[in-house]
Symmetry: C2
Subunit: 287 residues, 2 copies
């Protein structure tokens, strides 16, 4: 039974679709269909929201490792993480059965469900989401133990992220809002069925498993030499084969992919621009 | 004769296409075809660029009215504007014959040439740009005298802006970069012809003249009630007639346009989100 659920917006202060959805649900109530669930809606980083920035000092969604939560906080967001650990945690011993953290991205990732483990609960959830939103993507980030992730959603007994794009930072698109709202409602509908032990048997579904981040090419002084190739831009979760273009260099040349077939995502995400991360790769898997 | 030209990037510190183009031209030189022109490339707000934000305290591109330039500066960007007035101005008496300021927008405005007056020079320029870039838009903001505008480009004897979208803040898209580079080069090619008194006679062209900004609907407490309707989103410079949808309310209702036919632009621009500006309107005109 999943009794206590948290729905979080504003973990990044300029990701408006989660902020708007949580704001609407706080002001007007959760949709009536879910009135039997015990749901807390909250904003994570109101200072960043007021400033209309992702974060003020450090990325809040990288502060929730066991190490950081037990260390002396070194920045505003580390202090905030420890406060949230009291509200939504404590991590590993939380009263919250599920924490749903809502994000958006400048990458054309559509409606993506990010899960941190592929146990029976999450596999059933993934299948249910794909069944009701065939347009959705499922991304599995289980390269480490769920609790070792630095994400806010790991404060709960279970945690997941809704990640929808493409949406620029600091504004709200109706298409992204609608996908965000739909995925949140499908997840809550699944939770109701799970609690009633009434989840239908569904066939296995496609998913993507994160491998690694790919960096932009830089010169010896650290200057960016290239941009995402137009043939890769906006092609999140499409197949990238050896020999296909990935970077358009400013000198006019094209750089192609030399690795095995992968499925890029977070292509040209603004938040990773300063880190020189061009995109992440994944392999296709079945859940 | 236009002898001294300035090309400016980074007036807004998170608008990456102009920043990257100016960076490339500073590091590798202006394209050889324009070697006869005296061109200074510079960044306007390096502090905002380092912080990857539009501005630190106030919008730099609203600091260049005669009043603000002669008043005691009240913020970092006002001080910076007065320094830039020494470099590129003084406004009204500048050595620079043309200041080209490069911007990008989250709105789907394509490659837009923004001019502040419709005198013979700018009309010829507009026709030349449209002739060589039929996909470009020309936006005339001549609702006030050019020198009364608060824009950086008004420091020169003549000033204009290149505005390209859609591109989220803080990242670089190859399509937007290419349009930006192309429009900058077409403008410089025009300047060469103008200096040689060899501008070809071209037919008049379509342009758009700014009318007003349209606000989002708010409740009595200032909460946003709606978002841009999906049928308006990404339709910059398309015709908007009475009865066509403009806002999708969170309560599910649709709000339609009640005015005369206009051509919306800056639809859902992130920088205007906090100001509750939904879009700007224009009428179609001929230059």
């Amino acid at each position: 039974m999943l009794q206590k659920i948290a729905i979080v917006g504003g973990t990044h202060g300029n990701e408006m679709s989660g902020i708007q959805l949580v704001s609407n649900w706080i002001r007007h109530g959760i949709p009536g269909a879910f009135s039997d669930l015990d749901i807390d809606c909250l904003f994570a980083n109101t200072a960043a929201m007021d400033a209309n920035v992702r974060f003020l000092e450090e990325d809040l969604n990288r502060q929730f490792t066991p190490q950081k939560l037990s260390a002396s906080p070194t920045c505003l967001e580390a202090r905030l993480a420890q406060q949230l650990n009291e509200t939504l945690g404590p991590k590993g011993k939380s009263d919250f059965d599920l924490v749903i953290d809502i994000h958006n991205t400048t990458s054309s990732m559509g409606a993506t469900l990010i899960i941190l483990e592929a146990d029976e609960f999450h596999v059933q959830l993934a299948r249910y989401v794909k069944h009701h939103m065939p347009e959705a993507n499922v991304l599995v980030e289980d390269e480490k133990q769920p609790q070792e992730h630095p994400y806010l959603c790991t404060l709960g007994k279970r945690g997941l992220m809704i990640e929808v794009g493409a949406q620029p930072q600091g504004l709200l698109r109706a298409d992204v809002y609608s996908l965000t709202e739909k995925m949140a409602e499908v997840i809550l509908a699944f939770v109701q069925l799970y609690n009633q032990q009434a989840v239908p048997a569904l066939p296995s579904c496609d998913a993507f498993r994160f491998i690694e981040n790919i960096q932009y090419p830089l010169d010896t002084e650290g200057h960016r030499l290239a941009m995402i190739h137009p043939q890769l831009q906006d092609r999140d979760f499409a197949e990238l084969d050896q020999g296909m273009p990935i970077f358009q260099h400013f000198d006019g040349s094209t750089e192609v992919w030399h690795g095995d077939t992968v499925y890029p995502h977070f292509i040209n995400e603004a938040a990773y621009h300063k880190l020189h991360v061009a995109f992440a790769t994944a392999v296709k898997t079945q859940l």
